[in-house]
Protein backbone atom coordinates (compact mmCIF):
# COMPACT_ATOMS: atom_id res chain seq x y z
CA UNK A 1 0.00 0.00 0.00
CA UNK A 2 1.44 3.32 -1.04
CA UNK A 3 1.19 6.30 1.22
CA UNK A 4 -1.24 9.03 0.33
CA UNK A 5 0.19 12.25 -1.03
CA UNK A 6 -2.89 14.46 -0.81
CA UNK A 7 -5.90 13.75 1.34
CA UNK A 8 -9.07 15.75 1.17
CA UNK A 9 -11.61 15.21 3.89
CA UNK A 10 -15.13 16.56 3.96
CA UNK A 11 -14.30 19.54 1.78
CA UNK A 12 -17.12 21.99 1.05
CA UNK A 13 -17.11 25.32 -0.72
CA UNK A 14 -19.81 27.79 -1.64
CA UNK A 15 -19.61 30.80 -3.92
CA UNK A 16 -22.48 32.83 -2.59
CA UNK A 17 -25.59 30.74 -3.05
CA UNK A 18 -23.90 28.23 -5.32
CA UNK A 19 -22.57 25.11 -3.65
CA UNK A 20 -19.52 24.23 -5.71
CA UNK A 21 -18.07 21.40 -3.66
CA UNK A 22 -20.19 19.18 -1.46
CA UNK A 23 -18.21 17.40 1.22
CA UNK A 24 -15.59 15.87 -1.03
CA UNK A 25 -13.68 12.90 0.32
CA UNK A 26 -10.60 12.00 -1.67
CA UNK A 27 -7.21 10.45 -1.39
CA UNK A 28 -4.42 10.80 -3.91
CA UNK A 29 -1.76 8.14 -3.44
CA UNK A 30 1.87 8.85 -4.13
CA UNK A 31 3.15 7.77 -7.51
CA UNK A 32 -0.25 7.37 -9.15
CA UNK A 33 -1.81 9.35 -11.91
CA UNK A 34 -5.36 10.55 -11.45
CA UNK A 35 -7.70 11.71 -14.15
CA UNK A 36 -10.37 14.06 -12.93
CA UNK A 37 -13.38 14.44 -15.15
CA UNK A 38 -16.84 15.87 -14.93
CA UNK A 39 -19.11 18.24 -16.83
CA UNK A 40 -18.30 21.95 -17.04
CA UNK A 41 -18.92 23.62 -13.72
CA UNK A 42 -18.72 20.43 -11.72
CA UNK A 43 -16.06 21.86 -9.40
CA UNK A 44 -12.84 20.43 -10.82
CA UNK A 45 -10.94 23.70 -11.02
CA UNK A 46 -12.29 24.84 -7.66
CA UNK A 47 -11.07 21.61 -6.07
CA UNK A 48 -7.63 22.17 -7.60
CA UNK A 49 -7.56 25.76 -6.43
CA UNK A 50 -8.45 24.57 -2.93
CA UNK A 51 -5.49 22.21 -2.97
CA UNK A 52 -3.26 25.10 -4.04
CA UNK A 53 -4.65 27.40 -1.35
CA UNK A 54 -5.94 29.90 -3.89
CA UNK A 55 -9.53 29.27 -2.87
CA UNK A 56 -10.31 28.92 0.80
CA UNK A 57 -12.62 26.04 1.63
CA UNK A 58 -15.58 26.69 3.92
CA UNK A 59 -15.32 23.35 5.61
CA UNK A 60 -13.03 20.35 5.66
CA UNK A 61 -9.32 19.79 5.56
CA UNK A 62 -6.66 19.15 2.97
CA UNK A 63 -3.32 17.62 3.83
CA UNK A 64 -0.31 17.37 1.55
CA UNK A 65 2.30 14.86 2.64
CA UNK A 66 0.49 14.43 5.95
CA UNK A 67 0.55 18.11 6.86
CA UNK A 68 -2.49 20.36 6.81
CA UNK A 69 -2.23 23.13 4.25
CA UNK A 70 -4.14 25.64 6.37
CA UNK A 71 -1.85 28.59 7.13
CA UNK A 72 1.02 26.93 5.33
CA UNK A 73 2.57 27.79 2.01
CA UNK A 74 5.81 25.83 1.96
CA UNK A 75 4.00 22.74 0.70
CA UNK A 76 3.63 24.47 -2.67
CA UNK A 77 7.34 23.74 -3.11
CA UNK A 78 6.24 20.24 -3.87
CA UNK A 79 3.51 21.07 -6.37
CA UNK A 80 3.81 22.01 -10.01
CA UNK A 81 0.62 23.64 -11.26
CA UNK A 82 -0.51 24.29 -14.78
CA UNK A 83 -3.64 26.43 -14.77
CA UNK A 84 -6.46 26.05 -17.24
CA UNK A 85 -6.04 29.64 -18.38
CA UNK A 86 -2.56 30.90 -17.61
CA UNK A 87 -2.77 34.58 -16.77
CA UNK A 88 0.51 36.47 -16.69
CA UNK A 89 1.53 40.09 -16.25
CA UNK A 90 1.01 41.54 -19.74
CA UNK A 91 4.14 43.57 -20.05
CA UNK A 92 6.59 40.92 -18.81
CA UNK A 93 8.66 38.94 -21.28
CA UNK A 94 8.75 35.15 -21.35
CA UNK A 95 12.36 35.17 -20.17
CA UNK A 96 11.53 37.56 -17.33
CA UNK A 97 8.73 35.31 -16.08
CA UNK A 98 11.06 32.32 -15.86
CA UNK A 99 13.84 34.39 -14.32
CA UNK A 100 11.50 35.86 -11.73
CA UNK A 101 10.07 32.53 -10.62
CA UNK A 102 13.55 31.04 -10.44
CA UNK A 103 14.74 34.06 -8.50
CA UNK A 104 11.89 33.62 -6.01
CA UNK A 105 12.69 29.94 -5.58
CA UNK A 106 16.48 30.15 -5.46
CA UNK A 107 16.63 27.51 -2.76
CA UNK A 108 15.51 24.84 -5.20
CA UNK A 109 18.49 23.38 -6.94
CA UNK A 110 16.72 20.84 -9.13
CA UNK A 111 15.81 22.55 -12.39
CA UNK A 112 14.12 20.81 -15.28
CA UNK A 113 14.18 22.83 -18.48
CA UNK A 114 13.22 20.02 -20.84
CA UNK A 115 9.90 21.52 -21.79
CA UNK A 116 11.33 25.01 -22.33
CA UNK A 117 13.67 23.52 -24.88
CA UNK A 118 11.06 21.19 -26.30
CA UNK A 119 8.64 24.06 -26.87
CA UNK A 120 11.48 26.32 -28.10
CA UNK A 121 10.53 28.96 -25.56
CA UNK A 122 14.19 29.81 -25.04
CA UNK A 123 14.20 31.21 -28.58
CA UNK A 124 11.43 33.69 -27.87
CA UNK A 125 12.62 34.99 -24.51
CA UNK A 126 12.00 38.58 -25.52
CA UNK A 127 8.37 38.21 -26.49
CA UNK A 128 5.98 39.96 -24.16
CA UNK A 129 3.23 37.90 -22.57
CA UNK A 130 0.61 40.25 -23.99
CA UNK A 131 1.57 39.30 -27.55
CA UNK A 132 1.44 35.54 -27.00
CA UNK A 133 -1.20 33.26 -28.45
CA UNK A 134 -3.26 31.07 -26.15
CA UNK A 135 -1.23 28.02 -27.13
CA UNK A 136 2.11 29.66 -26.38
CA UNK A 137 0.80 30.75 -22.98
CA UNK A 138 -0.14 27.15 -22.32
CA UNK A 139 3.42 26.18 -23.20
CA UNK A 140 4.76 28.69 -20.70
CA UNK A 141 2.37 27.35 -18.04
CA UNK A 142 3.40 23.76 -18.72
CA UNK A 143 7.10 24.59 -18.62
CA UNK A 144 6.65 26.45 -15.32
CA UNK A 145 4.78 23.51 -13.79
CA UNK A 146 7.64 21.12 -14.54
CA UNK A 147 10.45 23.60 -13.92
CA UNK A 148 11.30 22.67 -10.34
CA UNK A 149 10.93 18.93 -10.72
CA UNK A 150 8.11 18.71 -8.16
CA UNK A 151 6.82 15.36 -6.85
CA UNK A 152 3.19 16.42 -7.36
CA UNK A 153 1.90 17.78 -10.65
CA UNK A 154 -1.55 19.27 -11.04
CA UNK A 155 -2.48 19.94 -14.65
CA UNK A 156 -5.78 21.63 -15.40
CA UNK A 157 -6.71 20.82 -19.00
CA UNK A 158 -3.08 20.63 -20.12
CA UNK A 159 -3.70 19.79 -23.77
CA UNK A 160 -6.41 22.36 -24.48
CA UNK A 161 -5.21 24.89 -27.04
CA UNK A 162 -1.91 23.20 -27.84
CA UNK A 163 -0.96 22.18 -31.35
CA UNK A 164 -0.60 18.43 -32.07
CA UNK A 165 3.21 18.47 -31.88
CA UNK A 166 3.15 20.25 -28.53
CA UNK A 167 0.47 17.89 -27.24
CA UNK A 168 2.65 14.91 -28.05
CA UNK A 169 5.70 16.53 -26.46
CA UNK A 170 3.75 17.29 -23.31
CA UNK A 171 2.28 13.80 -23.12
CA UNK A 172 5.72 12.30 -23.52
CA UNK A 173 6.98 14.47 -20.70
CA UNK A 174 4.09 13.46 -18.46
CA UNK A 175 4.69 9.78 -19.14
CA UNK A 176 8.41 10.05 -18.49
CA UNK A 177 7.79 11.89 -15.20
CA UNK A 178 5.13 9.35 -14.31
CA UNK A 179 7.71 6.62 -14.57
CA UNK A 180 9.71 8.52 -11.93
CA UNK A 181 6.92 7.84 -9.44
CA UNK A 182 5.41 11.28 -9.42
CA UNK A 183 1.84 11.96 -8.46
CA UNK A 184 -0.34 13.44 -11.16
CA UNK A 185 -3.75 15.04 -11.07
CA UNK A 186 -5.00 15.81 -14.56
CA UNK A 187 -8.32 17.22 -15.65
CA UNK A 188 -9.37 17.07 -19.25
CA UNK A 189 -12.32 16.61 -21.54
CA UNK A 190 -10.31 14.56 -23.99
CA UNK A 191 -10.84 11.00 -22.85
CA UNK A 192 -8.24 9.44 -25.12
CA UNK A 193 -5.55 11.64 -23.52
CA UNK A 194 -6.59 10.62 -20.04
CA UNK A 195 -6.70 6.98 -21.08
CA UNK A 196 -3.03 7.24 -22.02
CA UNK A 197 -1.89 9.34 -19.09
CA UNK A 198 -3.70 8.08 -16.03
CA UNK A 199 -4.54 4.91 -14.22
CA UNK A 200 -7.11 6.26 -11.77
CA UNK A 201 -10.35 8.06 -12.39
CA UNK A 202 -12.17 10.59 -10.24
CA UNK A 203 -15.57 11.66 -11.47
CA UNK A 204 -17.16 14.86 -10.17
CA UNK A 205 -20.65 16.07 -10.86
CA UNK A 206 -22.29 19.13 -9.35
CA UNK A 207 -19.66 19.27 -6.65
CA UNK A 208 -20.10 15.67 -5.60
CA UNK A 209 -17.66 12.87 -6.14
CA UNK A 210 -19.49 10.05 -7.87
CA UNK A 211 -16.71 7.69 -8.81
CA UNK A 212 -13.17 7.02 -7.64
CA UNK A 213 -11.50 3.85 -8.82
CA UNK A 214 -9.00 2.58 -11.36
CA UNK A 215 -9.72 3.12 -15.01
CA UNK A 216 -9.35 -0.63 -15.65
CA UNK A 217 -12.04 -1.52 -13.17
CA UNK A 218 -14.34 1.08 -14.73
CA UNK A 219 -13.84 -0.47 -18.12
CA UNK A 220 -14.45 -3.91 -16.70
CA UNK A 221 -17.57 -2.79 -14.91
CA UNK A 222 -19.09 -1.23 -17.99
CA UNK A 223 -17.77 -3.76 -20.46
CA UNK A 224 -16.28 -1.05 -22.65
CA UNK A 225 -12.71 -1.00 -23.93
CA UNK A 226 -12.47 2.76 -24.38
CA UNK A 227 -12.50 5.23 -21.51
CA UNK A 228 -14.77 7.64 -23.34
CA UNK A 229 -17.53 5.09 -23.80
CA UNK A 230 -17.11 3.74 -20.29
CA UNK A 231 -17.50 7.23 -18.84
CA UNK A 232 -20.52 7.87 -21.03
CA UNK A 233 -22.11 4.67 -19.72
CA UNK A 234 -21.49 5.75 -16.13
CA UNK A 235 -22.88 9.23 -16.79
CA UNK A 236 -26.04 7.80 -18.31
CA UNK A 237 -26.45 5.44 -15.39
CA UNK A 238 -26.11 8.32 -12.94
CA UNK A 239 -28.66 10.29 -14.87
CA UNK A 240 -31.14 7.41 -14.67
CA UNK A 241 -30.50 7.00 -10.96
CA UNK A 242 -31.17 10.68 -10.44
CA UNK A 243 -34.40 10.51 -12.36
CA UNK A 244 -35.54 7.44 -10.51
Amino acid sequence: MRSSMITISDLSKRFGRLEVLKSIQLDFSAGKSYAMIGPNGSGKTTLIKCILGMVMADKGEITVDGKSIANDWTYRNRIGYMPQIGRYPDQMKIGQIFDMIRDLRQDQAQIDEDLIKEFKLDRMKDKRMRTLSGGTRQKVSASLAFLFDPPILILDEPTAGLDPIAVEALKEKILSEKSKDKTFLITSHIMSDLDELSSQLVYLEEGKMLFNDTIDSLKEETGESKLGRAVATIMKRNLKEMEA
Binding site: K49, M54, W73, D90, I101
Partner: protein, 255 residues
Protein backbone atom coordinates in the same frame (compact mmCIF):
# COMPACT_ATOMS: atom_id res chain seq x y z
CA UNK B 1 9.73 40.10 0.47
CA UNK B 2 12.42 42.37 -0.93
CA UNK B 3 12.71 40.10 -3.95
CA UNK B 4 9.01 40.41 -4.72
CA UNK B 5 8.99 44.13 -3.97
CA UNK B 6 11.76 44.51 -6.53
CA UNK B 7 9.54 43.13 -9.28
CA UNK B 8 6.56 45.22 -8.20
CA UNK B 9 8.69 48.37 -8.20
CA UNK B 10 10.09 47.51 -11.59
CA UNK B 11 6.54 47.26 -12.86
CA UNK B 12 5.56 50.60 -11.30
CA UNK B 13 8.55 52.45 -12.74
CA UNK B 14 7.93 50.95 -16.16
CA UNK B 15 4.46 52.39 -16.59
CA UNK B 16 5.70 55.97 -16.16
CA UNK B 17 2.70 57.25 -14.25
CA UNK B 18 4.86 57.87 -11.20
CA UNK B 19 7.19 59.98 -13.30
CA UNK B 20 4.27 62.10 -14.48
CA UNK B 21 3.04 62.50 -10.92
CA UNK B 22 6.49 63.63 -9.81
CA UNK B 23 6.62 66.17 -12.62
CA UNK B 24 3.14 67.44 -11.76
CA UNK B 25 4.06 67.96 -8.12
CA UNK B 26 7.33 69.59 -9.12
CA UNK B 27 5.59 72.00 -11.51
CA UNK B 28 2.97 72.95 -8.95
CA UNK B 29 5.53 73.50 -6.20
CA UNK B 30 7.87 75.57 -8.37
CA UNK B 31 5.08 77.68 -9.82
CA UNK B 32 3.64 78.38 -6.38
CA UNK B 33 6.98 79.67 -5.16
CA UNK B 34 7.60 81.78 -8.25
CA UNK B 35 4.08 83.27 -8.30
CA UNK B 36 4.10 84.83 -4.87
CA UNK B 37 6.85 86.84 -3.29
CA UNK B 38 5.77 85.83 0.19
CA UNK B 39 6.99 82.22 0.66
CA UNK B 40 4.60 81.80 3.62
CA UNK B 41 1.61 82.39 1.38
CA UNK B 42 3.02 80.07 -1.27
CA UNK B 43 3.40 77.34 1.32
CA UNK B 44 -0.22 77.83 2.31
CA UNK B 45 -1.51 77.57 -1.27
CA UNK B 46 0.73 74.60 -1.82
CA UNK B 47 -0.66 72.98 1.30
CA UNK B 48 -4.18 73.12 -0.04
CA UNK B 49 -3.13 71.47 -3.29
CA UNK B 50 -1.16 68.80 -1.45
CA UNK B 51 -4.09 68.00 0.79
CA UNK B 52 -6.25 67.37 -2.28
CA UNK B 53 -3.86 65.90 -4.81
CA UNK B 54 -1.69 63.61 -2.68
CA UNK B 55 -4.60 61.61 -1.22
CA UNK B 56 -6.40 61.44 -4.58
CA UNK B 57 -3.43 60.25 -6.60
CA UNK B 58 -2.31 57.85 -3.87
CA UNK B 59 -5.68 56.14 -3.52
CA UNK B 60 -6.50 55.95 -7.24
CA UNK B 61 -3.05 54.88 -8.38
CA UNK B 62 -2.85 52.16 -5.72
CA UNK B 63 -6.28 50.78 -6.54
CA UNK B 64 -5.61 50.66 -10.27
CA UNK B 65 -2.20 49.15 -9.71
CA UNK B 66 -3.61 46.48 -7.44
CA UNK B 67 -6.20 45.41 -9.97
CA UNK B 68 -3.67 45.48 -12.77
CA UNK B 69 -1.33 43.21 -10.84
CA UNK B 70 -4.00 40.58 -10.33
CA UNK B 71 -2.26 38.28 -12.81
CA UNK B 72 1.04 38.82 -11.05
CA UNK B 73 -0.54 37.96 -7.70
CA UNK B 74 -2.24 34.92 -9.20
CA UNK B 75 1.06 33.71 -10.61
CA UNK B 76 2.85 34.14 -7.28
CA UNK B 77 0.11 32.39 -5.35
CA UNK B 78 0.66 29.13 -7.21
CA UNK B 79 4.28 29.32 -6.07
CA UNK B 80 5.54 28.68 -2.55
CA UNK B 81 5.12 32.28 -1.42
CA UNK B 82 3.33 33.50 1.68
CA UNK B 83 0.28 35.63 0.98
CA UNK B 84 1.31 38.13 3.65
CA UNK B 85 4.66 38.52 1.93
CA UNK B 86 2.95 39.33 -1.36
CA UNK B 87 0.64 41.80 0.35
CA UNK B 88 3.36 43.71 2.19
CA UNK B 89 5.64 43.68 -0.83
CA UNK B 90 2.85 45.31 -2.83
CA UNK B 91 2.18 47.86 -0.10
CA UNK B 92 5.79 48.76 0.51
CA UNK B 93 6.69 49.18 -3.13
CA UNK B 94 3.69 51.37 -3.94
CA UNK B 95 4.13 53.47 -0.81
CA UNK B 96 7.84 53.78 -1.57
CA UNK B 97 7.26 54.88 -5.16
CA UNK B 98 4.63 57.47 -4.23
CA UNK B 99 6.76 58.76 -1.36
CA UNK B 100 9.71 59.21 -3.69
CA UNK B 101 7.50 61.20 -6.04
CA UNK B 102 6.42 63.42 -3.15
CA UNK B 103 9.95 63.85 -1.85
CA UNK B 104 11.30 64.86 -5.25
CA UNK B 105 8.27 66.84 -6.35
CA UNK B 106 7.49 68.77 -3.18
CA UNK B 107 9.96 68.21 -0.36
CA UNK B 108 13.14 68.84 -2.33
CA UNK B 109 12.19 72.22 -3.87
CA UNK B 110 10.70 73.28 -0.55
CA UNK B 111 13.90 72.54 1.33
CA UNK B 112 15.94 74.38 -1.29
CA UNK B 113 13.66 77.38 -1.81
CA UNK B 114 12.09 78.02 1.54
CA UNK B 115 13.36 76.03 4.46
CA UNK B 116 11.93 76.99 7.83
CA UNK B 117 10.75 75.35 11.01
CA UNK B 118 7.46 74.20 9.49
CA UNK B 119 9.02 72.40 6.48
CA UNK B 120 9.82 69.09 8.23
CA UNK B 121 6.25 68.88 9.51
CA UNK B 122 4.82 69.52 6.08
CA UNK B 123 7.01 66.81 4.58
CA UNK B 124 6.16 64.35 7.33
CA UNK B 125 2.46 65.08 6.96
CA UNK B 126 2.64 64.59 3.19
CA UNK B 127 4.41 61.28 3.51
CA UNK B 128 2.03 60.01 6.17
CA UNK B 129 -0.96 61.07 4.08
CA UNK B 130 0.49 59.05 1.20
CA UNK B 131 0.78 55.99 3.45
CA UNK B 132 -2.73 56.44 4.84
CA UNK B 133 -4.32 56.62 1.42
CA UNK B 134 -2.30 53.75 0.00
CA UNK B 135 -3.52 51.65 2.94
CA UNK B 136 -7.11 52.80 2.40
CA UNK B 137 -6.78 51.91 -1.29
CA UNK B 138 -5.75 48.38 -0.34
CA UNK B 139 -8.87 48.19 1.77
CA UNK B 140 -10.96 49.23 -1.23
CA UNK B 141 -9.15 46.84 -3.59
CA UNK B 142 -9.46 43.67 -1.55
CA UNK B 143 -13.13 44.29 -0.81
CA UNK B 144 -14.21 43.53 -4.37
CA UNK B 145 -13.13 41.66 -7.50
CA UNK B 146 -14.56 44.24 -9.81
CA UNK B 147 -12.10 46.91 -10.89
CA UNK B 148 -14.71 49.60 -11.53
CA UNK B 149 -16.30 48.95 -8.16
CA UNK B 150 -12.90 49.03 -6.47
CA UNK B 151 -12.05 52.40 -7.99
CA UNK B 152 -15.52 53.62 -7.05
CA UNK B 153 -15.00 52.67 -3.42
CA UNK B 154 -11.57 54.32 -3.46
CA UNK B 155 -13.03 57.55 -4.85
CA UNK B 156 -15.75 57.41 -2.26
CA UNK B 157 -13.09 57.28 0.49
CA UNK B 158 -11.46 60.35 -0.99
CA UNK B 159 -14.74 62.27 -1.31
CA UNK B 160 -15.68 61.27 2.19
CA UNK B 161 -12.47 62.53 3.76
CA UNK B 162 -12.10 65.71 1.68
CA UNK B 163 -15.72 66.86 1.41
CA UNK B 164 -18.40 64.84 3.16
CA UNK B 165 -16.68 64.52 6.49
CA UNK B 166 -15.99 68.25 6.74
CA UNK B 167 -19.63 68.96 6.03
CA UNK B 168 -20.59 66.61 8.81
CA UNK B 169 -18.18 68.28 11.26
CA UNK B 170 -19.48 71.73 10.34
CA UNK B 171 -23.01 70.53 10.90
CA UNK B 172 -22.14 69.18 14.35
CA UNK B 173 -20.33 72.35 15.36
CA UNK B 174 -23.16 74.56 14.10
CA UNK B 175 -25.90 72.52 15.77
CA UNK B 176 -24.20 72.35 19.12
CA UNK B 177 -22.61 75.76 19.10
CA UNK B 178 -24.06 76.51 22.54
CA UNK B 179 -21.85 73.88 24.11
CA UNK B 180 -18.10 73.84 24.66
CA UNK B 181 -16.97 71.71 21.73
CA UNK B 182 -13.16 71.93 21.78
CA UNK B 183 -12.57 68.40 22.91
CA UNK B 184 -15.28 67.01 20.66
CA UNK B 185 -13.86 68.73 17.60
CA UNK B 186 -10.42 67.50 18.55
CA UNK B 187 -11.78 63.97 18.49
CA UNK B 188 -13.66 64.60 15.23
CA UNK B 189 -10.51 65.96 13.62
CA UNK B 190 -8.60 62.85 14.66
CA UNK B 191 -11.08 60.74 12.75
CA UNK B 192 -10.08 62.34 9.46
CA UNK B 193 -6.45 61.99 8.37
CA UNK B 194 -6.65 64.95 5.99
CA UNK B 195 -7.94 67.31 8.70
CA UNK B 196 -5.28 66.03 11.02
CA UNK B 197 -2.53 66.81 8.52
CA UNK B 198 -4.06 70.21 7.74
CA UNK B 199 -4.20 71.29 11.36
CA UNK B 200 -0.66 70.22 12.14
CA UNK B 201 0.62 72.32 9.25
CA UNK B 202 -1.64 75.32 9.85
CA UNK B 203 -0.46 75.51 13.42
CA UNK B 204 3.14 75.19 12.37
CA UNK B 205 2.64 77.98 9.85
CA UNK B 206 1.40 80.10 12.74
CA UNK B 207 -1.97 80.80 11.21
CA UNK B 208 -3.92 79.56 14.19
CA UNK B 209 -5.01 83.10 14.97
CA UNK B 210 -7.36 82.80 12.00
CA UNK B 211 -9.19 80.01 13.75
CA UNK B 212 -10.39 81.97 16.77
CA UNK B 213 -10.89 80.39 20.15
CA UNK B 214 -10.77 76.82 18.84
CA UNK B 215 -7.53 77.73 17.13
CA UNK B 216 -6.11 78.86 20.42
CA UNK B 217 -7.22 75.65 22.02
CA UNK B 218 -5.64 73.64 19.22
CA UNK B 219 -2.49 75.70 19.45
CA UNK B 220 -2.35 74.93 23.11
CA UNK B 221 -2.83 71.24 22.41
CA UNK B 222 -1.01 70.63 19.11
CA UNK B 223 1.70 73.16 19.85
CA UNK B 224 2.98 71.03 22.67
CA UNK B 225 5.20 68.09 21.89
CA UNK B 226 2.44 65.89 23.27
CA UNK B 227 0.03 67.24 20.66
CA UNK B 228 2.49 66.63 17.84
CA UNK B 229 3.12 63.10 19.02
CA UNK B 230 -0.63 62.58 19.32
CA UNK B 231 -1.40 63.73 15.80
CA UNK B 232 1.43 61.84 14.17
CA UNK B 233 0.57 58.65 16.02
CA UNK B 234 -3.03 59.06 14.88
CA UNK B 235 -1.85 59.32 11.29
CA UNK B 236 0.22 56.17 11.77
CA UNK B 237 -2.84 54.42 13.21
CA UNK B 238 -4.74 55.59 10.15
CA UNK B 239 -2.19 53.65 8.09
CA UNK B 240 -1.91 50.54 10.22
CA UNK B 241 -5.56 49.83 10.95
CA UNK B 242 -6.83 49.82 7.34
CA UNK B 243 -3.69 47.98 6.27
CA UNK B 244 -4.18 45.21 8.82
CA UNK B 245 -7.87 44.87 7.97
CA UNK B 246 -7.03 44.69 4.26
CA UNK B 247 -4.33 42.11 4.90
CA UNK B 248 -6.65 39.88 6.91
CA UNK B 249 -9.14 40.04 4.09
CA UNK B 250 -6.48 39.36 1.46
CA UNK B 251 -5.14 36.30 3.28
CA UNK B 252 -8.58 34.67 3.18
CA UNK B 253 -9.57 35.84 -0.26
CA UNK B 254 -10.44 33.50 -3.11
CA UNK B 255 -8.27 34.30 -6.08
Amino acid sequence: MIRIAKYVLYDIVRNRFILLYTLLLLTVTLSMYSLDSDPGKSTLSLLNIILLVVPLVSIIFTTIHFFNSYEFIELLLSQPVNRKTIFFAEFLSIAFALSCAFLIGVALPMVILNFNSSTPYLIMAGLLLTFVFVALAFGASVSTRDKAKGIGVALLFWFYFTLIYDGFVLYVIYSFSDYPLEKVTLLLVSLNPIDLARIIILLKLDLSALMGYTGAFYKHFFGSSMGIAYSFSFLILWTLVPLMLAMRRFVHKDI
